[in-house]
């Protein structure tokens, strides 16, 4: 099915500033090229550590005194300028396009075709960007938060000898992410999808000389690939059954499929497999905690704010498909619910500050999938946006903490773990800005009004509750269980996870910032607030986390409420109505107030519980800590899921590869038969030829007689 060129030509947005949308991804690409070229040039005066720095950027040299010269990369100045600048410009352009779109209030998406790409038979997929309400929201988040993180990185990575390489990868990532959210068709989205997976691998294993980091990168990439397989199968099914791969065409054509039938459910489920890989849901989530091996701004950008949300974006973009497949939608919501509670329990017992945040991310992603799974696409996207704010803030704040800890440990030459909370404590005295901002983010994620997280979480939970009646989901059955019961279970799991979220986040704050300091007497003197280039982005994110709720206030507040919901209506509204039988899902005012009250009570209860039960004074530094036992040990070791995967999947595959593929096929067949065999054949033929040309007359007589036989044979058989 050809792209709706007519729609673009007659579109009200064509000819406006929206035509410049292609600049938005291209600017970071330019940044990648520039930074990449700079990284290839030899730079003398390298820092004391090459990429053989360990996961925390520390280095195994002898103890330094306070002022060893940490020479910066020779081109650091240019890179510091180019890297964030392209992001800033991209954000500015995106704002301009957004303003135009907001002014126009277009109903149909504006598709900007750049060049023909896949043309084969009935398939015509041009390289095209789509400007509509959903893609603009995502673009603003990616470029805005991305810009702040780039600025933060200027400070965080200042001592790193691979400075240009870092920014090159980071810019490349933003380029691919923008291709992902701006793509006008599934294949273009898939290009971005794969690209961010690649950049994730590059950035997780940024300090690649440490094998653990490289392994983490590989793990992320391989698990992503499993999801990509699902994505591809879904695309194949889509093209085979609907005949289109661009969003406009799919939305138009998906109605021809049988609602709730096997085909559309399969498409939905396979897409969700891709989401499970990319957005770290069960069973493909184990790569995300390992991904914390990368630099902390990378964790903030990729594994909190943008890449992992690609799955949520995909479901929202495919709302037409999911809304017509209740079983698939229920699956999405259910997996999201189970993941959110599962990850929350693990987060309760992690000691590495980044791991806590990693599991928190997995858990919050589960929330988003609950939202888009039950058909509340706007609510899921809303949580995506607010989560980008406060999770980025949390990660960057933790980065600030880690930066300070590193500096301190570096000064004293200590080799302690700078990310372990048991080595922290009482940091609020030394890092007041970070402390305050991280508390704002913690309150936001816990869901305390009036911060952003409260509104988005509440919206999701209310949506789940609202759809327990009078919706296609409630009427469907999932593996024999009635949908309405399932939705109630999901709601309860969501509440439970909110409770646990409050607990583990408060725990993190208490252990890190409150109580006595456990870093050691010598180190304590060097603890200081991070430089301004790092704290200013934190401030911006703090403000956004605080007031971000205004994007989509609950409907009972009237006025400009549900702004995001109305904004996204042209894109996801129709699909959402499919699920709720044509009318907007709403709860009675009393019910909604009760739900809000319950959520707030639970959040507050969690925080109070954590504050009362957890005694930071009872902690000892990591080096002296004793091994946990019982349920604590299970949680600390993440339910031994990684070990189980290793036994069940990794080892058999490696074993199979070793025996069959390597020894059997590679060495035996390809090396032995084809390579050596063809050489042997040639030698044999040569040997035969040499024997024939021996100069022996007797041989010639033989050949003659055999020739005669051949001729006679030809005669007798002709």
């Amino acid at each position: 099915m050809l792209l709706q060129e007519a729609a673009g030509a007659a579109h009200p947005l064509s000819g406006t500033f929206a035509e410049w949308i292609w600049l938005v991804p291209i600017l970071p690409l330019i940044g990648f090229v520039v930074n990449g070229l700079l990284s290839l040039l030899p730079a003398t005066h390298m820092g004391p550590a090459d990429p053989s720095a360990d996961a925390h950027g520390a280095h195994e040299t002898q103890a330094h005194d306070d002022h060893h010269a940490v020479a910066r990369h020779r081109y650091a100045r240019i890179v510091s300028l180019v890297g964030p600048l392209v992001l800033g410009l991209s954000f500015a352009v995106a704002l301009g396009v957004f303003a135009v779109v907001a002014g126009m209030q277009a109903e149909a998406p504006f598709v900007k075709t750049l060049f023909p790409w896949l043309v084969a038979g009935g398939l015509n997929v041009p390289a095209a960007l789509q400007v509509d309400q959903l893609s603009m929201v995502m673009t603003l988040v990616v470029t805005g938060v991305g810009f702040l993180i780039h600025v933060f990185s200027v400070g965080y990575m200042q001592d790193d000898p691979g400075y240009p390489r870092y920014f090159a990868y980071l810019n490349l990532f933003v380029f691919f992410m923008l291709v992902l959210v701006l793509g006008a068709s599934y294949p273009v989205l898939f290009v971005g999808w794969e690209g961010v997976g690649l950049c994730s691998y590059l950035l997780i294993g940024y300090w690649y000389s440490d094998k653990a980091n490289a392994d983490a990168g590989k793990k992320a990439f391989v698990m992503n690939r499993i999801g990509d397989f699902g994505f591809l199968v879904a695309m194949f099914l889509l093209f085979a059954n609907v005949g289109a791969l661009d969003f406009v065409g799919v939305n138009a054509g998906v109605g021809t499929l049988e609602e709730g039938g096997a085909v559309i459910t399969a498409i939905g489920l396979f897409f969700f497999l891709g989401c499970a890989g990319k957005s770290a849901q069960i069973p493909l989530y184990t790569w995300l905690p390992d991904a914390m091996a990368g630099p902390t701004p990378v964790s903030a950008l990729i594994h909190a704010a943008t890449m992992v949300t690609a799955g949520v974006y995909l479901v929202a973009r495919s709302a037409a498909i999911f809304s017509l497949a209740p079983v698939a939608s229920l699956t999405v919501a259910l997996v999201g619910a189970v993941t959110t509670i599962f990850a929350a329990t693990i987060g309760l017992k992690q000691w590495d500050i980044k791991k806590v945040l990693a599991y928190s991310t997995v858990s919050q992603l589960g929330y988003m999938f609950i939202g888009v799974g039950v058909g509340a696409y706007a609510a899921g996207v809303f949580h995506l946006v607010t989560h980008a704010f406060f999770k980025a803030l949390l990660f960057l704040g933790s980065g600030s903490v880690i930066f300070a800890m590193h500096r301190a440990f570096h000064h004293t030459g200590s080799h302690e773990d700078a990310q372990d909370m048991r080595n922290m404590g009482g940091l609020r005295r030394y890092m007041p800005w970070t402390f305050a901002l991280m508390w704002i983010a913690t309150l936001a994620i816990a869901g305390i009004p009036p911060l952003a997280g409260f509104f988005s979480k509440d919206e999701i939970l209310a949506s789940v509750f609202a759809r327990t009646q009078h919706s296609t989901l409630a009427e469907a059955t999932w593996m024999g269980i009635p949908g309405s019961a399932l939705l109630l279970v999901i709601y309860v799991l969501g509440l439970a996870a909110a409770f646990l979220t409050a607990i583990y986040m408060t725990r993190m704050m208490i252990y890190t910032f409150h109580g006595p300091n456990r870093s050691g007497d010598a180190e304590r003197q060097h603890l200081a607030e991070a430089p301004r280039v790092m704290t200013i982005p934190l401030v911006v994110l703090g403000v956004l986390s605080a007031v971000g709720g205004v994007l989509n206030l609950p409907s009972f507040l009237g006025g400009a409420s549900q702004a995001l919901h109305h904004w996204l209506e042209p894109v996801t509204g129709a699909a959402a109505l499919n699920i709720t039988h044509g009318e907007e899902a709403h709860l009675a005012l009393g019910t909604e107030m009760i739900l809000i009250g319950v959520a707030v009570l639970i959040a507050l209860g969690g925080m109070v519980y954590a504050y009362a039960r957890l005694k930071p004074t009872a902690l000892v530094p990591k080096a002296d800590a004793r091994e946990a036992s019982g349920i604590e040990r299970v949680l600390e070791h993440k339910y031994f899921v990684d070990e189980a995967y290793d036994r069940a999947v990794v080892r058999p595959v490696v074993g199979l590869s070793r025996t069959v593929l390597w020894r059997g096929m590679d060495t035996g067949l390809i090396d032995g038969l084809f390579v050596n065999g063809s050489a042997w054949l040639m030698r044999s033929l040569g040997w035969l030829g040499a024997r024939l040309q021996s100069g022996q007359v007797g041989t010639y007589a033989w050949v003659l007689v055999i020739g005669v036989l051949a001729v006679l044979g030809a005669f007798s058989f002709s």
Binding site: Q693, S694, G695, Q696, V697, G698, Y700, A701, W702, V705
Partner: protein, 97 residues
Amino acid sequence: MIPEALALSAVLFTIGTIGVLTRRNAIVIFMCVELMLNAVNLSFVALSKLYGATGQVFVVFVMTVAAAEAAVGLAIIIAIFRHGHTVDLKNINLLKG
């Protein structure tokens, strides 16, 4: 009689071929070739009974050519023998390459 004669001719020809393939002495191989020529002569003579004297005329020619060939061939063998003091086929491989 003619079919029998032709069959005999075929058998003699075959024996001559086997001799050529089997023997190592150059002169003996030459003699086997003569045997083959004789077999062919028998064939010609047998068929001349059907088709007229031309067959026998041809036999005369064959014998003449065989004589010429024998002379030259043996002269060559003598030359080779003078060169390498051997007529063993194994050692005559100057055509090599």
